[in-house]
Structures are given as C-alpha cells and as structure tokens.
C-alpha cells in the first residue's frame, strides 16, 4: 500500500489538487479569483517540489503502471511547464469568470499525460491520452463568447478524435496480430509481419497527429490561433512535450527492434515538418499562428533527435523539450501579457515595442533566439544535440537539411526581432503593467534559457537517467 | 403436471423425428415467431382491457361494457376500428423516419422478449448478459420516440419527444442502478442464474432493506421509462395533445400503442424476475409442506401472476397520482432517486460482501 502512495505520488498529488479545487468550487464560500489563483499556484509549486524530492520507482496494478526515475523527471518537467503557464495566465484569469474551471481542466489533462507516460500497456496509454486531449478541447473553447475560440475547439476535437481513431485502429490490429496490449509482451512480439507493420504505421500516424508533424499538422495553426493564449501555450508546450516523451518511450522501448522500419518514416516526417513549418511560418502575421508553425518546425527538429534512437537521442529529445518549455513559454508569456492587456497579436503590432517595453522585448528576444537556436541561449544546445543525435546515423543529407532549416527559421524569428527593435511605429504598444506572477514566470523562463545550456548539469542528469 | 417447457420439448422432438434437421429448425423458428406474435397481440389486447377495467374499478365505474361479456371484447373492437382507419402521413414530415419509427418501436419491444424467462426452462435465449441486454435494448426505444417526434413536423410531437427522451434517459439510470443491486447480490447477469439464486427466497425478502429500496426505485423508474402516468409528460394530453404520436393514426398509432403496453409488460416481467423470483414459487424457509404445495402451481402461473401484479401496481399509480411537471420530474430523478440509488448500491455491496443476505 505504501508502494502505491510512493510510486503514484505525482499522480495522487495532482488528483488531490484537482479535488481541492473542486471542493473550493463546490463549497458555499465564494472564493475570490485572486485567492484561488494564489492557492493554485502554491499547490502547483508544492506539487513540483514534491515531485522533485520524493523518489520511488516500480510498477503497480499488474504492470499497468510503471514509474521510473526518467518518467519522474519527465513529469517534473511537465509540472514545471504547467506552473509556468499558470503563472503567466494570472492576468488573464483574473479577468476571467471561470478560473477554477480552467485549472480543473488543465490539471486533468496533466493527469492524463502522467498516466499516459507511466503506462506500460496500450489500454492505459490510450486512456491517459484521451484524458489528456479531451479536456483540452474544452480548454480551447474557453473564451466562450469568441467565435474563433469555439472554431478552434471544434477543429481540435475533430482532429484529435480522428487521430485517436487511427491510433486505435492500429492498436486493434496489433492486438489481433500479437494478442496482447502490454508493452513488455509487445516488445517480444514485435515482428516484420505485414499486418503488424501496417498497424504500427497507423499508430505512428496517430502520434503524428498529436505532435502535429507534417502532414498531420493541418489543425495546428487554426487551433493555436483560435484558442486563448494560455491554452495555446499549454497545447504547444506541455501537450506536445508529453506526446513526444510518450513517443520516445514507445518507439525506443516497445518498437525498438523495428527501427529499420520507422527510421525512414520519422526522418521523412522530420524533414517535411521542418520545411513546411518553416515555409508557412514565414508568411504569418499573427504571432500565435506564427508560433504554431514554428512549433511544427520544432517538432521536425525533435523528430531528428528521435531518429537518433539511442540514449543520446532520447536524452537530447527530453532536454530539448525542457528547453523548449522555457523558450516557448517565455515567448508566450510576453505574448499573453500583451494580448490580454492590449489585445494585440500581430507582428506589426510589435513594431517599436522596444521603445515602450524594453524589458519584455529582451525577454521575447531571448526566447526567440533560443527557439532559433542561437548561442548562448539553451536553445542552441538543444538543437545542436538533437541534430548531433540524428547525425549519429550518418544520414548527412538529413542533418544538412536540418541545419539549413535552422537558417530559415532564424529568418522569421528575426522578423519579429526586427519589428521590435528596428521598425518605427507611431502607435507602439503602450507600457504593459505586470503583476508578480507573470514576472516570476518570465524570470524563471529566462533563467532557464540562459542557464540550462551553459551549465551542462541538466543534460548530464537526463543522460544518466536515460542510460 | 404440465409445463410450458414440456410442451416446447415435445414439439421439438416431434419436429425432429418427422422432418430433417434443417427443416425442423426452420419450422421451429416459424413456430417461435408465430408464438411471439401471438403473445404480443394477446398482451396488447389484455393489457388495454385491463387498464380500462382497472381504471374503472378504481374510479368506481363500469368501464367498457358493450362489446362482449362485460365489455371484454372492447379492445378487439378497438383494434378493428384502428385497422380501418386511414394511416396518413402528414405533409412536410420526414416520410422515411415517420414510417420507420413504429417499426423501430415494435422491434425493440419484440427484441426485449428474448431473455425473459416465461416459465421454468422456457426462455428464448438465455444469454449470459441477459440483464445488460435488456437495459441496452430498452434504451433504443427512445430512438423510436425521437424519430417519431422529429419526423412529424409538429411542435407538439417534437416537444413530446424531447421531453420523453429526457425522461427516459434520466430514469434509465436509476433503473439500471436498481438492477445492479440485484446483480451484485447474485454475481451474474444471466437471467436464469438470477432466478435460480432466488430458489430459497426472493431477493426482495432476502436482500433486506436495500433490496426493497431498489425495488421501489425500480418500479418508479420503469413507470417513468415507459412514459406512464404520473410521468406521462411525453403525451400529456392536456398539454401536448398526444405527444410524439400526435400525427400518427390508424395502424401506425396502434403499433406505438402496442409497443408501449408490451414495454410495460416487459419491465414488469423484469421486475418480477429480479426481485420476485421470476417463475420461482414462493418458498418459506423450512416450511417443507408449504413449499411443496407452492411447487405444484405451474411456474408460468407464478411468472405471469407476479408480472400482472406489478402491472396492476403501475396502473394503480396512474389513477392515484397527479401528473408531474417536467421540472419536478427531472428533479425527482436527479436530486433524489439517483443519489439514493447510488448510495443504495453501496449498501447492497456491503451486504453482499458481508454475506448478510440469506
């Protein structure tokens, strides 16, 4: 029994938080939004800290649920990202009527992700996956009175349902072939049988949808643009990150022997994602949409790391997701402040931003540099290691394309930098007032961007766990 | 001693001796079909006249008394009347749905017959998930109502259908939970298992208070599920004319009518099976002689007796309670019945685990 509490500590704590929030909502006392937010943030911090310090690994429920040090780390990364998003959306939620619900939904998806990551059984995996994606659709529709919000939600749920349909069809075929849905047994049962490969490809396609790799990316931009900005950042960072974690686990451990089959598929997905993401990102005017496409291209880079298919590849992917959380959230933090306070979201609006908001400009600039992979920000290290992991397979055309795509991506990141620093604007965005929470979150993000790369500890730690 | 199962076995034997197996099977099927249709028609006729007589009795009046002895052939006459009435399809309606809806209602009612044990060893299909099957198939009936209401191109129909949809689905929950109470006690979903587990006493007696609560909830819920007063929101004539079948006439109307009565029969049969032991005779602990006497009464009589008792109960409700408003109706379910039945299920589980039942 104590094992149960120890192994599932992260999940249980999260559940407890969800219930505390629910009780707050149900209690007869009307909580002020401000207090709710304070409580939530404190709870999330406790959650993060507890996740970091409590150790205990093993498997539960007849090997349905497993906990390893690596999974703990991955969950802690997601916890951290959620905390950051929570802090960033402080201003937005203060004005919003349904702050508690936002957290209920968001933490439910987080719980789903945890279960998805910890699953060692396709059934558990599927349940976690759906718990992680269905509430997200509701979140995407969180601005109930905005037309685009519900449109985004509709697109998200449709594509997500379609993706899980594909995934499930694959799983059912795989069950037909092997007669098992447990990871451990699948690992031994994996074979070159055509039907197995077919089902495997369907599963990959399902994954592709969830991480929005090209050609399964069509929903991404619309959903990102339409959703409220906190949700967009959550979608692009946490949701995607967790899917990538899950994907590495599944590909490396369960289907590790099939690498010859999936290597090419992943490589093609990577190249397409990078190129298409980049080409579309260049054309975008809306910053959210722009970040959506840039995140597609980032997925391409991540997939290159996945093709590495070794300890370095996996640790690079995890490391990159960590960095990606810092960088993207720093960018989204600025964006959400500007958007919620001033309602401006296009690149043109950001012209002359430096004149009025130098600090935010630097934060955004550092975030974008990190996304573009410019040293000394952590993004450089992340991308470098990803591509290096991919190069381990001696597929030099692939990494040349990747390296050149970094240049293209730099172009559009620099567009925003240019708009902020260089372009003149008669009506720049006025000075944005910040509360403590966004400040804190951005400080953490920037610190993360600056430190995580130069100090090699994070990567070494991840690598030691992966190994 | 004669019993239905003996008749069935002898027919089966005779057929297999006379014809080759395939033909015998087909003939058997035909016989089963005809029997079911006959049962259906009979049930319809009987229940209609029963209702009218019961209501008359409760209201201290004569009721139908012209056709046949004491008006016993009244429903037959009504059938003839309905047969010669024109079955029209209103203009502007969705023709396909409109015409298919009564079929769906009939099919559902008919399908529900499959796992009902009418007598000892007399059951069409003793499938291992009998109870689940009944709850699953019975919830399809709401589709026929919605189809009819939607297709009619009539606001009354639509409103009636929506109300009835809301009502049926709501009460299905408590009905389901009440059924589950018995499933927990028996540990099986098979109808025959459930009946056999009541050989030494019916669940309503063995299961203490929780079983009685379940029974009460079940009866209330099925009354609502079958759209009967006091829950007849769907066809509240003072509000919605005739609800979802306002636009139906002639035989199509008759089919709905029939399906509804058959549904009443089936839910009561289910109630009888679950709580009152189905065809099991009434036994009391160690009273051997009494038990023996009870065994002499044929199982089919036990079954139909219990079922018609429940039907009578439901008819009694109709003439006793005033109709609820839709909000009261939903309140009753969501705020009282559902929480109570959920809690009750826990109690039942406790009893089952502790083995407190007899």
């Amino acid at each position: 029994m104590s094992n149960f509490f120890l192994f599932m500590q992260q999940e249980l704590l999260l559940t407890a938080i969800i219930f505390i929030l629910l009780f707050m909502k149900l209690s007869t006392i009307e909580w002020k939004t401000k207090n709710v937010l304070l409580v939530v943030n404190i709870l999330l911090t406790i959650n993060l800290v507890a996740g970091i310090f409590i150790k205990g690994n093993g498997s539960l429920f007849g090997d349905m649920f497993q906990q390893t040090e690596l999974l703990r780390l991955e969950k802690n990364i997601l916890n951290l990202g959620t905390l950051l998003i929570s802090l960033q959306s402080y201003n937005w939620l203060l004005k919003h009527k349904h702050a508690t619900e936002f957290y209920l939904l968001m933490l439910s998806t987080l719980l789903g992700m945890f279960f998805m990551l910890s699953s060692s059984n396709l059934l558990m995996f599927y349940v976690g996956l759906e718990l992680a994606s269905i509430p997200l659709a509701a979140l995407a529709n969180f601005d109930l009175d905005k037309r685009r919000s519900s449109e985004a939600a509709m697109k998200y749920i449709m594509s997500s349902a379609f993706a899980s349909g594909l995934l499930l069809f694959g799983i059912s075929m795989m069950y037909g072939v092997t007669g098992t849905v447990s990871f451990a047994e699948l690992q031994t049962a994996a074979s070159d049988q055509p039907l197995f490969l077919f089902s495997f490809i369907l599963i990959l396609a399902g994954f592709g949808f969830k991480i929005s790799a090209v050609p399964f990316h069509l929903w991404t931009a619309d959903v990102y643009e339409g959703s409220p900005i906190a949700v967009t950042s959550y979608l692009s960072v946490i949701s995607k990150g967790s899917m990538i974690f899950a994907m590495t686990t599944v590909l490396f451990t369960v289907f590790g022997q099939l690498i010859f089959h999936w290597y090419n598929i992943i490589a093609v997905l990577a190249v397409l994602s990078m190129i298409v993401g980049n080409l579309f990102a260049i054309r975008q005017q809306n910053v959210k949409r722009f970040l959506a496409f840039s995140s597609i291209s980032q997925v391409g880079f991540i997939l290159i790391g996945v093709t590495g298919a070794n300890a370095i590849g996996q640790s690079s992917v995890i490391y990159f997701v960590l960095i990606y959380i810092f960088s993207n959230l720093a960018a989204f933090g600025v964006l959400s402040l500007v958007s919620s306070e001033k309602g401006k979201e296009t690149i043109d609006d950001f012209k002359g931003f430096y004149k009025t908001n130098p600090l935010l400009t630097w934060v955004l600039a550092i975030a974008l540099f990190s996304l573009a992979g410019i040293p000394p920000t952590a993004g450089f290290f992340g991308k470098f290691f990803l591509i290096l992991a991919g190069a381990g397979k001696n597929n030099y055309p692939l990494i040349t394309i990747a390296a050149l795509n970094m240049v293209v991506s730099l172009y559009y990141y620099l567009r925003i930098i240019k708009a902020m620093f260089m372009d003149a604007n008669e009506t720049p965005i006025e000075k944005v007032e910040m509360t403590w929470a966004p400040k804190l979150s951005m400080a953490i993000c920037v610190a993360g961007i600056v430190i995580t790369g130069i100090a090699s500890g994070a990567y070494e730690y991840i690598y030691s766990l992966v190994k | 001693m004669w019993s239905l199962s003996n008749i069935a076995t002898s027919i089966d034997q005779w057929l297999n001796e006379t014809f080759n197996p395939t033909l015998a099977l087909i003939l058997e099927m035909l016989i089963a079909g005809v029997a079911v249709i006959g049962l259906f028609a009979m049930l319809g006729l009987i229940l209609v006249i029963m209702e009218r007589k019961v209501s008359a009795w409760i209201q201290i009046r004569l009721g139908p008394n012209r056709v046949g002895p004491k008006g016993m052939f009244q429903s037959l006459a009504d059938t003839v009347k309905l047969l010669v009435k024109e079955g029209m399809t209103p203009g502007g309606s969705d023709k396909l749905l409109f015409n298919v809806a009564p079929f769906v209602a009939m099919i559902v009612a008919m399908l529900l017959m499959a796992p009902i044990a009418f007598a000892k060893d007399f059951q069409l299909w003793d499938l291992n998930i009998g109870v689940l099957y009944i709850s699953a198939v019975s919830s399809i009936s709401v589709i026929s109502i919605l189809m009819a209401g939607w297709a009619s191109n009539n606001k009354y129909s639509l409103l009636g259908a929506m109300r009835s949809g809301a009502q049926i689905v709501s009460y299905e929950l408590s009905a389901g939970l009440a059924v589950l109470a018995i499933v927990v006690l028996t540990g099986s979903l098979r109808v025959s298992d459930i009946i056999n587990s009541q050989a030494d006493g019916w669940w309503i007696f063995k299961g203490h208070i929780p079983a009685i609560i379940s029974f009460v909830i079940f009866i209330i819920a099925v009354t609502a599920e079958t759209n009967r007063a006091p829950f007849d929101m769907a066809e509240a004539e003072s509000e919605l004319t005739a609800g979802f079948h306002t636009e139906y006439s002639g035989m199509k109307f008759a089919l709905f009518f029939l399906a509804e009565y058959v549904n009443v029969f089936i839910v009561c049969a289910l109630g009888a099976t679950l709580f009152l032991g189905g065809w099991m005779p009434f036994h009391i602990g160690t009273w051997e002689a009494f038990n023996h006497v009870m065994d002499y009464i044929p199982s089919s009589i036990w079954f139909f007796g219990k079922t018609f008792f429940l039907i009578f109960l439901i008819m009694w409700f109709r003439w006793t309670f005033p109709r609820l408003r839709i909000d009261q109706l939903l309140n009753l379910e969501w705020k009282y019945l559902l929480p109570i039945s959920m809690f009750n299920l826990l109690l039942v589980t406790l009893i089952a685990i502790l083995g407190w039942h007899f």
Binding site: E130, L144, R147, M154, A161, G165, F169, G176 | -
Partner: protein
C-alpha cells in the same frame, strides 16, 4: 449453426472504419462528422471484440479495451457536441465551411 469466420467480421469492421474516414473527410456537417468518427471508433470496437472472441478467447484485453473506447468515445462526443452547440450559437450554422474565421 456455423460460426461466422473472423475474416468476415474484419471485413465489416475495416469497411466501417474507412466509411467513417470517408464520411469525416467528405461531410461538411459537424454532427455528421462526429458520427463518422464514432463509426471509426465502433469499427475498432468490433475489431477488438472479434479478435478477443476468435483468436484469444482466454484473454480479456480486447473486451476491456472496447469498454474503455465506448466510454471515452462518449466523453469525446459530449465535449464535441457542447462545442458544436457553442459554435452554432456564434455562427448559426454547423457547417464546417462556415467556420472559416481561421485561415492560412
């Protein structure tokens, strides 16, 4: 009576799956699209049950999976319909072609 071979069932489920997919891609009514998705999920259910019954009768994984898929599909449908209702309120239409606020 002779049993239905598993291939027949698989044929049905696969057909159902691709009908669902086709419906999803060609239909423009959101409810219809949702139904198409449900069709896909149900084909998966059929698959699981069939495999479980025919190939691995001593295991229960397939049945469990089916139950969970049914539940989750229900949850998905609930959320999707809520969203569609909300969309209908703002767009006065449930045709995806009308929901074009967001474009490339």
């Amino acid at each position: 009576m002779s049993e239905v071979p598993v291939t027949h069932i698989l044929f049905v489920s696969t057909a159902l799956f691709f009908i669902g997919m086709y419906g999803l891609f060609t239909r423009r009514n959101m409810i219809t699209m949702l139904m198409a998705i449900e069709l896909m999920l149900n084909s998966v259910n059929i698959n699981f049950v069939a495999f479980n019954k025919y190939l691995y009768p001593d295991k229960l994984d397939g049945i469990f999976f089916t139950i969970f898929i049914i539940t989750i599909a229900a949850a998905e449908a609930a959320v999707a319909i809520a969203i569609i209702i909300n969309l209908y309120r703002s767009h006065n239409s449930i045709d995806v072609e009308d929901a074009t606020e967001l474009k490339y």
